[in-house]
Structure formats: structure tokens, C-alpha cells
Amino acid sequence: MGRKILLDKINVPGIRTYEVYRKEGGYASVEKALKKMTPDEVVEEVKTSGLRGRGGAGFPCGMKWSFIDKKSGKPRHLVCNADESEPGTFKDRYLMEFIPHLLIEGMITSSYALGANLSYIYIRGEYMWIYKILENAIAEAKAAGWLGKNILGSGYDLELYVQIGGGAYICGEETALIESLEGKRGNPRIKPPFPAVMGLWQNPTVVNNVETIAAVPWIVNNSGADYAGIGIGRSTGTKLISASGNIKNQGVYEIDLGLSVYEFINSDEYCGGMQTDRPLKALVPGGSSVPVLPAHLIYKTAAGEDRLMTYESLADGGFASGSMLGSGGFIVYDDRACIVRNTWNFSRFYHHESCGQCTPCREGTGWMEKVLWRIENGQGREEDIELLWSIQAKIEGNTICPLGDAAAWPVAAAIRHFKDEFEYHIRFPEKIKNRNHFVAEPFEKVKHLITKQTV
């Protein structure tokens, strides 16, 4: 059974309140850091832990912290990225909704490490009720003396606020988030300069995901080495996985990194297997932006090794036969799920959410959506698959921020692994019209209709 670092207290009655959270040992990391550690020592512990950014990129957190510009003399800021909007991902809301003080404790300890005296939690506009939970928790923490001037008599001051967004996925990109926090459209900035040098109001800023910051109290209370002892290789610690789709037990799970994908999907402790007796068809393991894996590559890598829930194992084989751990947004599809329909759905999402700043993304995402829509609706043309391949290749790597890549990868992977399903849609439009969109006849049953000469 996996250990619980983030969710160990989640079922304690009243844990959302300061009183119970404190009684359960909450805010101990703030006490320890402010009374017994220098900021640099906190940074070193986080470096030792090997904690990687849990928002999707997986960049080492301690290293990111060490980049912050301390020489300029400008105010520094910590900004928590709570703009969770990636299809398949709903883990951060779980933490914030049920144990908000864990995030606030992490924000105080991390802000101390960075020398930040003014920090923000930027939460997506749609999580309005969680915004209010956080505002209330911040007020409780302030009343108890964990925020404000001279915290615990240490001479350290911190103000923490929560900022609400306006409904834009792109604001999950760290520089777009900063623009939004400045009261502007969420247009990503060109990097460099990186936020660690010129971030919020041109001040040195670190942007970290909710789950990343929530892991800091445990690391400080125990040790970086203890945290590094969990997991495998460079995938250290635990990870929240939000599981959805055609599985029995949908929800948020905390796993030790290194668990096998087979066990995660099939054991009763986690997903409990498929929702019905239908076979597994595909898996998106890290939110909609990561490549989809076909059934034969889900439990085993191309090299025949067990596929593990780690950054490295899920990416094994590159994009040809691997995917990414990303944000841990696990979407499981059974054999009735229509891959073309699903790929169109993702493309519509990225088209809608593109900020429009870069031409390849602005135009390309809409173009892919249109082509996929006509294939899905029985008006596909023979050249459409090649066209889609060409469009996605022209978007990838040609935009300011990774949203372009995020739009291109699902299309590329769907064509790479499910080309015959696209061909079937184009060749037999009469069979796909008037059916129940997402849930279709199992493709395996009709696959024999496709021959190599078809398209």
C-alpha cells in the first residue's frame, strides 16, 4: 500500500479548519524553518528531495528555486499555480478543497526559503467556491499569527493573497499566469528572461504548482533524503493521480512514484479495473496534452519492460511508443471510445484556449479542429490524415509557449497509433453517421474492413 504524504490527514473530520489542522500537527514546518533553518537550508532540503514540478513539466523544484535573483535587491514573490484546467486533471482542487491549510503552510515555508514577502495563490475562476475556502483559510492563518509581520518573532514578514482568474486555460502557463495576475490578458511572455529574474511586476518570481508546494512541509518536517527515498531514480516522492474515464473507481489517488501502470489501473486500492468487462483500448496518462498510448503499450514499454508510473518509464521510447506523466491526469478508454471523436474534442479545446498570440497555434489549432470534425462527420477526404500530420508538425516547437505542443501531440499520437481508425472514418462515412458520438461500436469489430489499399 502506498504511503500518504499529501493526503494522510484528508479524512480527519474538520481538517479544513485551522483548529483541527493545527491539532493534527499542521504548521510544524513553518516553526521548524523559521526557528531552526536558514532560507538556504530549506532550499537545500528541497534540492536533496529531488521534488519535481507537479504541474506537468517535472522540472526540479529546488533547482528552480536556486535560480531566483537575490542580487537585484528587488522584492521577490512566490506564486502558486492553481489554474488547473487540463482535461483529465482534477487533483489540485481536491487538495485545496479538503485540506487548504496544507497549501498555505507550504506557501509560508516556501516563501521563507525564497525570501518572498508578498505571495499569491492564482486559482482558476471556475473554482470560485474553493477560492472562498482558501480566502477563509488565509484569514484563519493570519489570525493565528502565521502570516503578517514578524512571524513567530523571527523577523520574517509575509502577506499571502489568493487571486481569482477569469476562465482561460492558457493562464496555467507560468508567464501567462503572471500577466493575468498583473490584470492583463493571459498572453505568455517570451523566455528568457525567466520569471526567476523578471516575473511578477518585473520582480524575481517563482511559480510552482499546488501539489509541489504542498509537498514542501513534509520535506522540511522529515528530510529531503527521506523524500528522495520514496520512488525510483529521478522520480522521487509521491504523486497525485486524477483518474477518470472508463474505470471503476474514478477519483484522486496518491501513489509512490514507481508503481506499475498495471497495478494502478487494476488493483482495488486504485482504479479497480475497467468499469465494465470491456477491454482497455487506450490511455492518456498525463492530461490531454500528452500522447495517447494504445493498449499494447500501456502495461509494457516498447522494450518489453513493465510500464511504471514514473516520469522516465511513461516517456520510454520517446513519442513513438511512449507518453508523459505530465500532471497525472489519467484518462482510461475502453474499446467503444472513438479515438477520432476524442482527438477532435481535444483539438476543439486547444483551439478555444489558444491565446492567439502565435500564428501556428492560433491558425493551426482551428485548422486541425475543422479537419478532424469533417472526418468525424463522414466528410473526410483521403488526403486529410496527411494534412493533419503536416499541420501538427508545423505547430510543434514553433510557438512562444508549450500550448502549441500540447495541441499538436495528441493529434500526432492518435494518427501514429490509430491511423486505421481515421481511415475507417474516411472510407465508410455511412457507418459513422448518426451513431452515439463518443461511445461507438468497438473498432476491433469493424477493423477487418480496412485494407492497406484503402487509403
Binding site: T89, Y127, G166, G167, K184, G245, N246, R341, N342, H437
Partner: protein
Amino acid sequence: MERSHIKQEINITDTLMNRINELISHYPADKKKSALLPVLHEVQDAHDNWLSIELQNKVAEILEIQPIEVYEVVTFYTMYNQRPIGKYMFEFCQTSACCLNGVENLMDYTCNKLGVGVGEPTADGLFEVRGVECLGACGYAPMMQLGDFFQEHLTEAKIDQLIADCKDGKITLHDK
């Protein structure tokens, strides 16, 4: 009706102004503009859930910024409404996991029941159905947002009940 022809009464009450000032205090004195997004949410909630040009101009005046700085934000983010909308806006998540769990059928069901298409308010202005992108409830699909709150694991029966509760005024839209 064209947006420019619809009048909206502007009513910045003392309570609302106090809340706006509190939000402004969250940022350094020379960074008032940073309060724009949260201020727009508060002002919209207090004005029948939409923001006319005149109201946007008022926000610009309060925050001491140019009106264009407000317009460009209002038009960029999906949660700010530039026209009057149905009082009870059923915002169905139409992304992957919700679709796998039948949200498209539920949207059709709701539209048929209310006698409207997606994006059209009912004649009495009480309801509107909208499709939105991922709301972060994939494990609790299918779902929709109603005011500040999520309605998850939706079924036709739950939608029937929600419509009835809205008509009876039993639904809270904003937690104030």
C-alpha cells in the same frame, strides 16, 4: 438586441465598494490594475451577471486605468459576459471525460426540456445552456457549473430537479 442598445443600471453600493477596496489592498499601491480580474467578478455578480460597456468604463475609473485595458480583459476571458444572460446559466463541461459519460446527450435533453438551443436564453430570461471547456471534474463526470458551484454526476433526473429548484428559487448562485 444589439448589445449597445441594452441599458444596464450601474449600482456600486457601499458594500461592493468596500469589497473592491479590499481587493485593491492585496496589491502594492502602484499596482492597482492587478485587482482587475477579481474586481470584474465582484462587479459582474452584483449586476445580473453581465458587464455593459458603461459598467466596464466604471471599473476603469475605479481602478484608474484606461477603458481599453478593461475591454481587452473582458473579451479575453470566458467568464465575463458582455450581454445579458439567463439568470440560471447551465454551463455543461463538454470535454473528454464528460463526453465519455454522455454529457452531449444531457445537453440535448436540457435544451429540449427548456425549448431553447445552446446559447439562447429562455423567453423569460430564467435559463440558458452553454457548453464550456474542461471544468476540472473529470472523475465526477458528467457535470456542469451553475453559478459558483459544480453539479456533478449529472443524470436526466438530477437536471429535472435542478430546473424545478431554480424555478422555485431554491438555488444559490453565489456564496456571499
